[in-house]
Amino acid sequence: MRNEQKAILYFFLVLLFFSFGSSIARSIAMTLLMEKLGGDVLPHMFILIDLSIMLTSIAYAKSTQKFSGLKILGFFLLLTSLFAIFVQLLFFFNSLHSWVYGFFFVGYFFFYTIILIHIGSVTASYFTAIQAKRVISLINAGIPIGNMLGGLSLIILLNIFQFKADTLVITLAVTSLISFSILYFIKNSLNPVRTSHKVLKRNQSPINEFIIAFKYIINSRLMIYMSLSLFLFVIVSKLLEYHYQTAIYIEVFPDTTQRATFFATYDIFASMVWLLLQLFFSSRIIMMFGVGVSNIIYPILSAIIALSLFVYFYLDTIGLMQGSLVMMLSLGIITQFINQEMRWALRSPASNLLFNAIPSHLWGSNKAFLNGLMFPLSTFIASSFLILITGFESYILPLTALILSILAIMIAIPQWRAYDKGMFNLLNRQLFSNRSELIRLNKNFKSAIQTELKSSVSSHIVAALEMVRVLKLSQFVNQVGNLLLKTRHFEIKQHCIDALTVLPASNSNINYLIEALQTEQDVKVIPLILKNLAKFKNVNFNHTIANFLTHPEPAVFVEACLCLYHHPKFVDQKLLETQIIKRLKKAKFPEITLYLYALGELRKPRYSHAILPFLNHPKSEVNLAALKALIRMQNGQLEFHKFRLLRALDDSEKTTKLVALKALSSCEALPDWSAIINLLAARDRSLVNESKKLLKHKLNFSKKSLIDKLFTEKISAQQRFEILSLIFLFLNEKQRSCLQQDADEALKNFLFIHALLRQHDLLTYGNKTHDLIKKILHEIAEEHLLHVLTIITFAARENMEFFQRVSRGLLSSNRANQGNALEVLSNANEKYLVNRVLKCFEEGFNKQLNIDNYEAELFALNHSMLNECLIYNQTQS
């Protein structure tokens, strides 16, 4: 039996046995309470139950952080069993005291509620997000079946075997123990996919844990919507229940016996329909529409039934309609069915699945918040409203329920979006999980910078200076300036200069730079100061800077020249031009690059003749400097040099390519775009971005070449993604369907490679090249999968982030990540390929493919290193 089937069976059995015992205990608790204490105590009992759940929720939230969900469930089941045994003993020895019946009633409902709240998290933790959607309804079918069997058994035990009701409490103890023992099998044969407790434990008090959870809740849109939905659901549910119990059933069945018979008959049929819905519809609805949409269906049903009730009772009140018992009864039955059975068949599974988008370690505290705080609060509000509304017209209740249901629909729509977003965010949660710590860091970071600037560790000082620079923290100007004057560390000086330059221009930062220029001895630092001083055009320190024109160091001379040349108050530019040309003629490598740079910065095209000879210099650094200088000098007039720039794209130096790509953007249409399109496959991101920028800028000219490349050549997943990001919107239907077919083919290839991998494991284990071939095959399979995901991303109008997160999730070895990625995919706005990918991952690549000649198939993949491995194997054997 597959692990998934095992997990479904075990959890189904846990729910079945627990519901069986609970159903018997519930009937006994209700009967005994009514008999011994009377119906008047019922509201007090409910308050006690709500209070006990509310208080336990805090401890429960804390324990979910410490212990596994299975342990907690085991603990609750064991306690329930002990409680039932204790109550049974009390009934034997203390049956004269009526408080024991109240105690049993409150205790039973307390354990029943807390176990049902918790068991959802435990079940969900054994499935991925996508599996949970499919199987939860099936598992939950254990509840109605258990209820029906329990009810039937109770009737037989009471009426045929003549048992007394107060002797049957022990059944709950036995069934809870059976459920507890099934947990033992779960523990030994299954592993949770998602852990609900933290691996790294922090010692926090329960209150602190609750505060942390509360902070998460108020920062999480999904949790806010879930809380509001629950709040409205409880109120609407109570209003409708009150309405059909008081305004319909009492009217239709004035006799108590008739009413009891009706309830018994209703229970049998409603439970059967509930079971059928649970087994055959709930999962399908959730799978077909997704979790977000499924959560809108229930409030819509509530709104429809509230509207029907309102119309009927309003027309009846104003005398436009004759009261009909049949119609009232039909309305009552439908309302009760939606309120009770549909709640368990649809609302509960759909709303439980919303927790998929919440990190699993927060499930406990969030559930505690919803069930321990929101639920009792909304019950209290609904009860108060019902007390206040007594005596009003009978259509007021359905009208209120209608308004609240419409509100619930309005909340369910953004809740759907928040769920999809939450799922998406979960895919990247590993790196940025602790938001609250980041917030705390923000508050204290200024004092941290102050401390780090005084640190004895240079890397700490550099980090602090970077913060000052990036955030332009002008209050640190004096500290940075003094540091520049005092330190001997080159890197620190460099960062001090950078920081001072970006801070808003003031006397302070300019004075510090000038003082540093006058006192600095390091010839690597002086050019840096000069270069940065050139950015302050409104201050005139030309006389000081002119002293550096005679400096023996070429870098100092060049920066001093440029600083003066571009200063608005400097007049003798011609002198500087001549000096630079003169030095360039005499210079040797590496100084030539400096003078070429200086000449380019003058931006005078008339000096291009002085640069051209250096474009063919044997040193690549000189070539690059000459090319840069030429580009700077031409001020965008590069049409004449475009072939030279295209040639530069073949250069081995990345920087040369980048410079050429930037310069090509100022040229007209190019004769051939292939060199630029090929750079979209480069491993260096800066090259990809620059070529993409150029292709986008010239899309009118490059579009045709891009489309040709996409459909005629075998290209990498990365190149396909980049090309599609540029032209997808311009593709026609035929081209898009062609892409879909290609992706479909890629998915088949992905499965085929996995079949080859299985064959490979069987045939060549222990072979020298075994691991290497395996790795190559994995990489080929990955490439095919990325191809499919690329097409899904564009067809679904998603972006690169979606592609990256989903592909990382699917390629992860962690099943929870894979499940989250599949769930995000299933919410995407593309169904054809997504359904195929889902099917492929759900089946676990187990589909057997016929591979006749394994080695020939490997050769057919046409992968150079794979071929090399195969030939190597042949020569070795």
Partner: protein
């Protein structure tokens, strides 16, 4: 050793497990094959570590000062000084060839240059180190 054999050996080293075949191929170009006779000392305890040794054939004894017996004996596909590719800390033991040995040796400077040129290689190392750190953390907790 032909280039493919170098790649096969490098593929066994856990530090390179997160790298793509293309990157392992690049590393193979900076890995040199070195052969030593019995008794040759690869490095002494306290030396500055600057290379990774992967045992291709033979045995290497790892000896700690003050101990009579070797603390470990390394065989084919074992490796020494993995972390010296990242820092220049001193060796914590002496490594001595036992019988004729062949190694693939990668120098700290070469790998650093390669990682600068191809950041994916550095990222691959980070992935492996992070995964080790995670394992250590989960074990310690």
């Amino acid at each position: 050793m032909i280039p493919l054999e170098k790649i096969i050996v490098l593929n066994q080293v856990p530090l390179f497990s997160a790298l793509k075949i293309e990157d392992i191929h690049k590393i193979s170009t900076i890995a040199s094959e070195e052969a030593y006779e019995d008794g040759h000392i690869l490095f002494n305890e306290g030396d500055i570590g600057d290379s990774l040794f992967i045992v291709v054939s033979g045995e290497v004894k790892i000896i700690k000062q003050g101990l009579d017996q070797p603390v470990a004996i390394l065989n084919k596909n074992d490796f020494l000084g993995e972390l010296s590719l990242f820092d220049a800390e001193t060796r914590t033991a002496t490594a001595c060839c036992h019988g004729k040995c062949t190694f693939l040796v990668i120098e700290h400077n070469d790998i650093e240059q390669l990682a600068h040129e191809f950041p994916e290689i550095a990222f691959g190392f980070i992935k492996v180190l992070i995964s080790r750190m995670r394992n250590m953390l989960s074990k310690s907790s």
